[in-house]
C-alpha cells in the first residue's frame, strides 16, 4: 500500500482531480450516445467508471512525461489535457482530429503532450513505454539532468497475461528505467472474469517476479490513486526504477459502447455494488465536507464541461473529412533521398 507519509492533497489537487474526472465522464457519455445514434463511425470502448485512475495518475505528469494507453483510451487522453474538439473530430474521422482521422478511437494520440496512443492490441503499450523511458534516461544522461521524465503504460488485468507485458516489465526492472506500470484491474479481460483468466487476485503480486515494488490502491478513489501513483512516479523520476501499481476499478458500461452487446457476464448486483462507489460523487462529497468546493461550484464545473462538449461536437460535425486523394500520405516520413 502507498506510504502513509505521503502528503495530503491540496485543495488545488482535489479540484484538479475532480475536473479531470468530470471531463472524462461527460466526454464518454456523449461519445457513447453519438456512436449508438449512428452519428460517429466504428466502435468505442468507454472509460466510464474508471475515471479516478487516469486522473489520479495524470495530475503528477507533465507534457514531457509519456503515457501509453489501451483500446479504452479516451480517458487517458482527456486526463492528459486532451482537447475535446480534436478528440471528437477524431472520433468522427475528420481532418481536424488529433490523428487527422487516420486513427479513430482505438489509436487516438497526442504525441506533443506525450500521449503515445490508444492501442488496439492488448499489452502493446508497455514495451513502447519502456522505449520511451529508455529515451528519458538516455536524454537525462547526455543533458546532465538528475530528474528524468517518466513513462507510464496503462493496461488492464487481462494484458498482464500477455508476453509483451512480461518482457516490458522485466526490461524496465533490469535497467531501472523511469516507468510506472499502471494496471487498471476492472475485473474482466473483455468478458472473461479475472478469476477465470489468472490464478491470482492481485496483479500487484506479479511485481515480485520482476524485482520491482507492487502496490495496490483503490481505483475508485482519485486520492488513493493520486497518492500511490505519486510515490511511484517520484521514485521513477529520481532513478529508483519501476513500480507496478494496481488500481482496483470497474467499468460501469459494457466492453463496447453504453448499451453493450447484450451479453450477461456480470450480475446487476455486482454492477450496483460498484456503481455505489462511483468515483465522482464520492470525490465531490469529500470536497464538500472539507469545504474545498460548494455544491454550486461543483455544478458549475459540470456545466462548463458540458458547454465545451456541445461546442466541440458541433466543431467535429462541421469539420472537413479527409481528402481521399490524401489516402497514402504519412505511410512514410518523406525524405529528400526517397
Amino acid at each position: 500500500m502507498a506510504s502513509s507519509q505521503a502528503s495530503e492533497p491540496s485543495a488545488e489537487v482535489l479540484k484538479d482531480l475532480h475536473y479531470r474526472m468530470v471531463r472524462i465522464r461527460h466526454f464518454e457519455e456523449e461519445a457513447g450516445k453519438l456512436m449508438e445514434q449512428g452519428k460517429s463511425p466504428g466502435a468505442l470502448h468507454l472509460y466510464i467508471g474508471e475515471e479516478a485512475v487516469a486522473s489520479g495518475v495524470m495530475v503528477h505528469l507533465t507534457d514531457n512525461d509519456q503515457i501509453t494507453s489501451t483500446h479504452r483510451g479516451h480517458g487517458h487522453l482527456v486526463a492528459k489535457g486532451g482537447d475535446f474538439k480534436k478528440m471528437y473530430a477524431e472520433l468522427f474521422g475528420r481532418e481536424t482530429g488529433y490523428n487527422k482521422g487516420r486513427g479513430g478511437s482505438m489509436h487516438i494520440s497526442n504525441v506533443d503532450a506525450g500521449m503515445l496512443g490508444a492501442n488496439g492490441i492488448v499489452a502493446a503499450g508497455p514495451p513502447i513505454a519502456v522505449g520511451a523511458a529508455f529515451s528519458n534516461k538516455y536524454l537525462a544522461r547526455i543533458e546532465g539532468r538528475d530528474r528524468m521524465d517518466v513513462a507510464v503504460p496503462f493496461f488492464g488485468d487481462g494484458a498482464t497475461n500477455e508476453g509483451a507485458f512480461h518482457e516490458a516489465a522485466n526490461m524496465a526492472a533490469i535497467w531501472k528505467l523511469p516507468v510506472v506500470f499502471i494496471c487498471e484491474n476492472n475485473g474482466y479481460g473483455e468478458f472473461t472474469p479475472q478469476a477465470e483468466h489468472q490464478a491470482i487476485s492481485d496483479v500487484a503480486d506479479r511485481a515480485a517476479g520482476y524485482g520491482m515494488p507492487g502496490v495496490i490502491c483503490d481505483g475508485m478513489d482519485a486520492v488513493a490513486v493520486w497518492e500511490a501513483a505519486g510515490e511511484a512516479i517520484e521514485r521513477a523520476r529520481t532513478g529508483g526504477g519501476p513500480t507496478l501499481v494496481e488500481c482496483k476499478t470497474y467499468r460501469f458500461v459494457d466492453h463496447v459502447g453504453l448499451r453493450g452487446i447484450g451479453l450477461h457476464y456480470r450480475t446487476d448486483e455486482e454492477l450496483e455494488e460498484w456503481r455505489a462507489r462511483d468515483p465522482i460523487p464520492q470525490h465531490e462529497q469529500r470536497m464538500i465536507e472539507m469545504g474545498v468546493m460548494t455544491a454550486e461550484e461543483i455544478q458549475a464545473v459540470h456545466d462548463a464541461v458540458m458547454a465545451d462538449i456541445t461546442e466541440s461536437i458541433e466543431f467535429a460535425e462541421n469539420s472537413p473529412l479527409p481528402d481521399p486523394a490524401d489516402l497514402l500520405n504519412d505511410v512514410y516520413t518523406p525524405t529528400a533521398a526517397s
Partner: protein, 334 residues
C-alpha cells in the same frame, strides 16, 4: 554510388562491413544506440558487433534479455521520443516473437497518428539457409515484411552493400529492416573506409546482357551470376539484376531490362509461393507483357520448412545449375 563505381581498394568481409556500418552510424549520431541479444558483451553470435561495446560503452551498446517483443517495443518507444534505435533480431526466424510490435506498432504508428510520429528505427537481422541450422534458424521471411505498409526492406548481398545499407537505414526517418545473409558472412568485397549510403529503392544491375533478365536477391545474386557464366558459355547473354531494396522495389530497372531482353526469370531463396518473386513476376506481367517472348519463370525454395539434413538442405536451396536449367527452359534451348 554502386559497388561497380567504388574505387578498387580495401577489402573487407561481409561481417566486418556490418561492424563498420554500425560503428560509423553510432559515431555520427549521438542519439543512436544499438540493442539486442548478446550484441554487447559477446559482439553477437555472428561476431558482427565485436568491439562496439568497448568503443561506445554500455549506455549505447546494450545487451537485452531474450525478449524480441521487448526489443522492437524498445525501438518503437525510443524512436518515437527522439532517439535513433539500431536493434538486432539475431535470426530472422525470431521475428515471429515480435510480429505485433513490427506490424501493428512500428510500421503503423506514423500513419495511425496522422503523420505526427516519426520512427527512425533500424532493425538488423540475419536470414538464410545453408548452414544446417534447420527449420527455425534458416528462413528467408522478407516477404512478411514487404507486405507491411510503413516498413522499408533492404537485403544486401555484398560487403559494400551491407555497410551502405546499415548507414542508409540509420539515417532514415522510417523503419528499415536490413535483412542480412548468413551464408555470405565470409564473402570479401571492396568497402570504402568512409561512411556512404545507398540510394533507397534503387536496384543494382550486377551484369548486363540482352537475352534474358534474371532478377535475384540476397544470396541468390551470386548463384544467378554463376548461372549467367554457365549460360554465357552456351551463347546466352543474361542480365542479372539485384533489386537490393525489396520495399520500395525498383520496378523501372526491372521493366526496362525485360523490355530489352524479352525474357525474365525471378530467383530467391525464400519459399516460392507468395514470395517477393511472385510480386516481381506479377509486375513484369502487368507492365511488360508485350515485351515477353515467354512466361516469366521462377526459381525459389519449395513449399516446405527448411530441412536439417545437409543432403536435403542442398536440395532445398536453389543453385546456379537450377537457375541455368530454368533459363534454358524459358528460352527453349539446351
Amino acid at each position: 554510388m554502386t559497388a561497380a563505381d567504388a574505387p578498387a581498394g580495401r577489402q573487407l568481409v561481409y561481417t566486418l562491413a556490418i561492424t563498420e556500418g554500425v560503428r560509423q552510424a553510432l559515431q555520427e549520431e549521438p542519439l543512436a544506440f544499438m540493442a539486442g541479444e548478446d550484441v554487447a558483451g559477446a559482439g553477437s553470435v555472428f561476431g558482427i558487433y565485436r568491439g562496439l561495446l568497448a568503443e561506445f560503452g554500455p549506455d549505447r551498446v546494450i545487451d537485452t534479455p531474450i525478449s524480441e517483443s521487448g526489443i522492437i517495443g524498445l525501438a518503437v518507444g525510443a524512436g518515437a521520443t527522439g532517439l535513433k534505435p539500431i536493434v538486432d533480431i539475431m535470426f530472422m526466424d525470431f521475428i515471429g516473437e515480435c510480429m505485433d510490435e513490427i506490424v501493428n506498432q512500428l510500421a503503423k504508428m506514423r500513419y495511425m497518428f496522422g503523420g505526427k510520429a516519426t520512427l527512425p528505427v533500424t532493425v538488423l537481422t540475419m536470414s538464410g539457409a545453408g548452414m544446417n541450422l534447420a527449420a527455425q534458424h534458416s528462413q528467408s521471411l522478407e516477404a512478411w515484411l514487404c507486405h507491411t505498409p510503413g516498413l522499408k526492406v533492404v537485403m544486401p548481398a555484398t560487403a559494400y552493400d551491407v555497410k551502405g545499407a546499415i548507414i542508409t537505414a540509420a539515417r532514415e526517418p522510417n523503419p528499415v529492416f536490413v535483412v542480412m545473409c548468413k551464408g555470405l558472412m565470409a564473402l570479401p568485397g571492396d568497402v570504402p573506409e568512409e561512411p556512404y549510403t545507398l540510394p533507397i529503392g534503387k536496384a543494382n544491375v550486377i551484369r548486363e546482357g540482352d537475352g534474358l533478365t534474371i532478377v535475384a536477391h540476397g544470396r541468390m545474386i551470386h548463384e544467378a551470376t554463376k548461372a549467367a557464366d554457365i549460360l554465357a558459355g552456351e551463347g546466352v547473354s543474361a542480365e542479372v539484376i539485384d533489386p537490393l531494396w525489396l520495399q520500395p522495389l525498383d520496378t523501372d530497372t526491372i521493366i526496362n531490362s525485360v523490355a530489352k531482353t524479352h525474357n525474365a526469370l525471378v530467383v530467391h531463396e525464400a519459399v516460392r509461393f507468395g514470395g517477393v518473386g511472385a510480386e516481381i513476376a506479377a509486375q513484369i506481367a502487368e507492365l511488360a507483357f508485350d515485351s515477353l517472348d515467354a512466361p516469366v519463370g521462377r526459381v525459389a525454395a519449395p513449399f516446405s520448412p527448411v530441412p536439417f539434413s545437409p543432403v536435403l538442405e542442398q536440395t532445398y536451396v536453389p543453385n546456379a545449375e537450377r537457375i541455368a536449367d530454368e533459363a534454358r527452359r524459358i528460352l527453349g534451348v539446351g
